[in-house]
Subunit: 400 residues, 4 copies
Amino acid sequence: MTDRNIHVQPSSGLAVEEQGVEIVERKGIGHPDSICDGVAETVSRALAQTYLDRFGTVLHYNTDESQLVAGTAAPAFGGGEVLEPIYLLIVGRATKSYEGERIPAETIALEAARDYLEANFPYLDVGTDIVVDVRLGEGSGDLQDVFGDEGSVPMANDTSYGVGHAPLSETEQIVKATEQRLNGEYSVDHPEVGQDVKVMGKREGDHIDVTVAAAMVDRHIEDLEAYKDAVASVRRYVEDLATEFTDRTVTVHVNTADDYEEGSIYLTTTGTSAEQGDDGSVGRGNRANGLITPNRPMSMEATSGKNPVNHIGKIYNLLSTEIAKSVVDEVDGIEQLQIRLLSQIGSPIDEPHVADAELVTEDGVTVADIEDEVEAAIDDELADVTNVTRRVVDGELSTF
Amino acid sequence: MTDRNIHVQPSSGLAVEEQGVEIVERKGIGHPDSICDGVAETVSRALAQTYLDRFGTVLHYNTDESQLVAGTAAPAFGGGEVLEPIYLLIVGRATKSYEGERIPAETIALEAARDYLEANFPYLDVGTDIVVDVRLGEGSGDLQDVFGDEGSVPMANDTSYGVGHAPLSETEQIVKATEQRLNGEYSVDHPEVGQDVKVMGKREGDHIDVTVAAAMVDRHIEDLEAYKDAVASVRRYVEDLATEFTDRTVTVHVNTADDYEEGSIYLTTTGTSAEQGDDGSVGRGNRANGLITPNRPMSMEATSGKNPVNHIGKIYNLLSTEIAKSVVDEVDGIEQLQIRLLSQIGSPIDEPHVADAELVTEDGVTVADIEDEVEAAIDDELADVTNVTRRVVDGELSTF
Amino acid sequence: MTDRNIHVQPSSGLAVEEQGVEIVERKGIGHPDSICDGVAETVSRALAQTYLDRFGTVLHYNTDESQLVAGTAAPAFGGGEVLEPIYLLIVGRATKSYEGERIPAETIALEAARDYLEANFPYLDVGTDIVVDVRLGEGSGDLQDVFGDEGSVPMANDTSYGVGHAPLSETEQIVKATEQRLNGEYSVDHPEVGQDVKVMGKREGDHIDVTVAAAMVDRHIEDLEAYKDAVASVRRYVEDLATEFTDRTVTVHVNTADDYEEGSIYLTTTGTSAEQGDDGSVGRGNRANGLITPNRPMSMEATSGKNPVNHIGKIYNLLSTEIAKSVVDEVDGIEQLQIRLLSQIGSPIDEPHVADAELVTEDGVTVADIEDEVEAAIDDELADVTNVTRRVVDGELSTF
Amino acid sequence: MTDRNIHVQPSSGLAVEEQGVEIVERKGIGHPDSICDGVAETVSRALAQTYLDRFGTVLHYNTDESQLVAGTAAPAFGGGEVLEPIYLLIVGRATKSYEGERIPAETIALEAARDYLEANFPYLDVGTDIVVDVRLGEGSGDLQDVFGDEGSVPMANDTSYGVGHAPLSETEQIVKATEQRLNGEYSVDHPEVGQDVKVMGKREGDHIDVTVAAAMVDRHIEDLEAYKDAVASVRRYVEDLATEFTDRTVTVHVNTADDYEEGSIYLTTTGTSAEQGDDGSVGRGNRANGLITPNRPMSMEATSGKNPVNHIGKIYNLLSTEIAKSVVDEVDGIEQLQIRLLSQIGSPIDEPHVADAELVTEDGVTVADIEDEVEAAIDDELADVTNVTRRVVDGELSTF
């Protein structure tokens, strides 16, 4: 144990990859919960940058409580209509005046939200299909005191913890890549696939089921045949994609709730189910690593929208994941690594109360063989904790 | 008296032009009340047009209850900021489904409002400086029954009245022209004058005071000197303008509440006082003829946002004004004409319960001389009542 | 002319009582516009009282912009349900901190609104049938400067005017008494009549039509027969009442839009049409004297909710009415008196720019006979202007 | 494996009780997230009961998305004030008409929320300190199809999973009991402790730290000494309480963020931090078993507010916990049991895709010894799945 309280120990259980049943989920960027995450984090970055530009330091704020109220839509082959707009309320706290200067926190929030939505949701007419409103209160005075001086390592604002893992299991890789590529390279030639892509992976032994729910965009779907083609095309694409990550057998299911007889299909006007009946909130979806992984310990903490300077839940969730990735890269012989960081309220955030590493080593390697290397790597990363803040502000680290 | 119940009679009092004291006011298009009027009427037209396009008839709606909640701003020479956005809630009723088809009344309203604001308010960033939200309920079932069949003259939906006058007095003409030209030709070369121009005219005997409150736009005003120049320039412009309409003496006052010592001036970031502390509502400002005229009978009815097919208050206010203008144009010898129309609930709107004309004739002309002409002219206009509806839908008639 | 600029002159026209056609309207306390007026004024009084209690002076505020969004209801004989609540948004400005002390303006507003609604609307379950929300911004700094020192007469904050009349015409008296008694003594034994009673009076020559629209309360109406009885009872009551005020012939109409064949009647669950489709705003209904009187000059100014210390529109509307009443009481020989007060921005409010009295004298009396008396009476009332403020804060003066 | 796909297997890791570091958290009923959970679940029960009463079946709804926006308060020894109200927006979907009958879903929601808040928050004046608003949209048509016929076992509406454990570890028991008793028996004689009690437990080896953050209620705290006494009293109470559950050493910390020098203490007017700066949402706090347990697999699914008939995430989270408890009660020799249920979309919910039991047995017992017993017990519980729905509707099962 160093003075950073780093514990390295063997995992008490099997690596996830070796467990009998594994479940993994990812809500795509167009899922109502992810829309909230994305807006909350974008607003957070805009506020942080504004405070930096104006005062050289990030002032108190938290914008991790946005709420989306679903709209009503009448999708139709060839192009339907949004009947009642989605309502998105940006909620949180922000410092609105500092050293005699007033800060336009609410208009910054609105502008950031609009820019984000317009950049990411080509089928959503901001201001018409979605109303964005804002209620940013002043923070409590007490919280402002916890901020450290410029340049120094901030103190933890809470007793909180973060947990991260590396590497991703095959199922995790497939689930993550499926959503990211459908919303990435695939979308270039397939505008009919909306942003609301939800992927569920389930592995039982050596068979993986990948279930995709993809909101189709009505203006690009002429009729039921076109819809069926679009579904089949997604299925083929994901089947191919999966082979990059695994030798296990994979079955892909797309839009399984459809009922062609009843005319019930997953057709949308805007590319998101938020247009019709699906509400959303920050922190209800993906964890900081972009996945929901019931086989692994997870933090309940919402990461998106939190202040990256002193919100310890956010920092430790991102940092533990970064540490896990970095250690696995640097140190040979690790099959699975879990990092857990527990803060001490009032102590510098680079000195966690406990930093706990659980290792599953590869065959022929023992924990003792690599313990020192792992500890040193963790120590390095912790020393560089404020780097996480910078990368969050710069948008280099995704939070959902 | 015809079967349209037209009464023509001498006015019981002096023409306004001859009264000792006359007061006239106009709230410009950027006044918070007028913003609400403008949005309400634009939304109304968009809904009416949608119903016409889809169903060939205007269905029940009323959008005459929008409410604006002021924002907070920090104007500054050279360009300031909106700190907290203006909040505009479009309120009303609309038919959302008809003959099995659903109508996107709320998104139509939002789009119309945004288009209107963007077209008329160059310094207002819609979605950032102003949040536009909507709550359109379904109308009451009963009201829907009152609508007549297509093509026929609708029945009055209420016992209501309208009142109109012609010609405008000198003071009225000056007040109206002042606002319209400051927001028109003057603005082309004077971007520093915002849309919120409020004009008050007061005539005592043969002297007219014109008081202008003009929101200056901070990004076009470099410093206090520039501000003073802008104020002086408005004063000179209005002084010139007034001579077109009167031979009376005119004194022009601009931004009289300014206090240069205290640094208190009428500077805005967006060109409207809605950015800082001034709330607004539909129907609280100008009457249907664009003026507030305490020397003349006025209707309390909000005209903007009302349904132009069957809302009798709206129709009769616009129609009475049109009739007065038209009769004064056609018939010689009229110094002042007031038209008052009183509806009969459940009767066709071209058959008012009373149509009442009060005349002040020019010297040498008696009411008896021109009574028949006047009555015939009124009769013609009433017969053409549905034309008012068409012109409202087409945006040819201003309502505030 | 005194140094208060009082002008007394003969009216340029006929007394309203002698005009051929007269129209008068009153929206009862349960009309959606009046609900807004009542809440706005109650909130105003609560704020004024709080400022007085805490600081000995009334600070800046205005709460004259409340907006009511109608609900949805399913009334039924014997008792129906509110389906979607009425939404009432209290909008305005208030001073929230003063001399280092914070003032709970928003919670005071909510409490006052709730108390008012609970006291006046027995069939409206506050918090369930109606949601009351609040958005009180900080006022603009500039306006705060206009306030005078304690004890002195405040300066006018605007160029504005007020207008008042006395005595009420017969038709006006009938219309006002009809609503007040139906919501007063009649309601004691007739709980079936709701608070939303709208009365329209129309006099043509010597015949008066009184049209009452009275929202019936479903829990007290067992069936259609009971409804018809309730309507007939109101009609008889108003017929009797009218004879107290006039010798003219009077016809009373109640709920004329009913259509028994179609089952279309004016039945409500809460006693107000706000439950179903009728929105409301402050300042859209009755003028400061409780009536809408198109035969008389009216001010567009909303009186309810305005600050009674320095909001000159409010003060002058109330004061001109009080002066008119008082002068008619004190001075014999007046058939009709109209008082108009025009403020001078920046001057003490007891020194109006113009105070203008128009008289119609009784037969055998000339204006010259009583001019001095009238002027002296007006002068007295003006000298006592701050008394209006006190009476408003104490709730002695009604504003709608 | 039975036809319910029940797998019983040894746990791959150590029992939580034997792991080196254990973290447990519980947000009390007055925490902003828990307020949302509580309101959401209360509204859910009220809707379910209404549907049952009127139609004999539970119709489609979900009310799992309420959002709380914090207020502003000025607490003070002896009694402070709420300055700006908390805003609670109930968000979700509900069936508003069925078989030609309309259902007052929104007013039911408001009434249930108010009753819940009034019953549980003695220091919160509903309607003044907190504004409760509601936006319940209609659900999507598709979802309504998934509902089974009355009496039958419903089909799963999603691919989802639930996870539950038994027995609670010592630390878990202490954390849960601390909050429940402080808000229970302790509160009877200690009205100074508000409802917002947050408890964090951390066990390292054989030492347990219990950190309590308890909002003190200002009207019951006269001065700083009284505050210190209140804090000390809570500490002593929890120290005593802990000995009931463990022989390990326990240290109790109460309101550790206080700084008496700076006058920074945890004083509130309403008993909840929602009054000042702490926003909240459904599903962000405690899991279905009332705890946050990062040492154990958790579901991200919000349980509160979900429809208990067919929302598989809710049902399986509650059911897996109930199964775990029941099996541990019935079968001897179990040290720790984890139950995980994975649904099959479109299949009856009593036939999960996988029902997975992981066992840590007591010394001297093998999984093989008790496997059949465990499987049979699970099978019984699954067969009785609809019982969970009934108990949720009746309020017998807590969801947070």
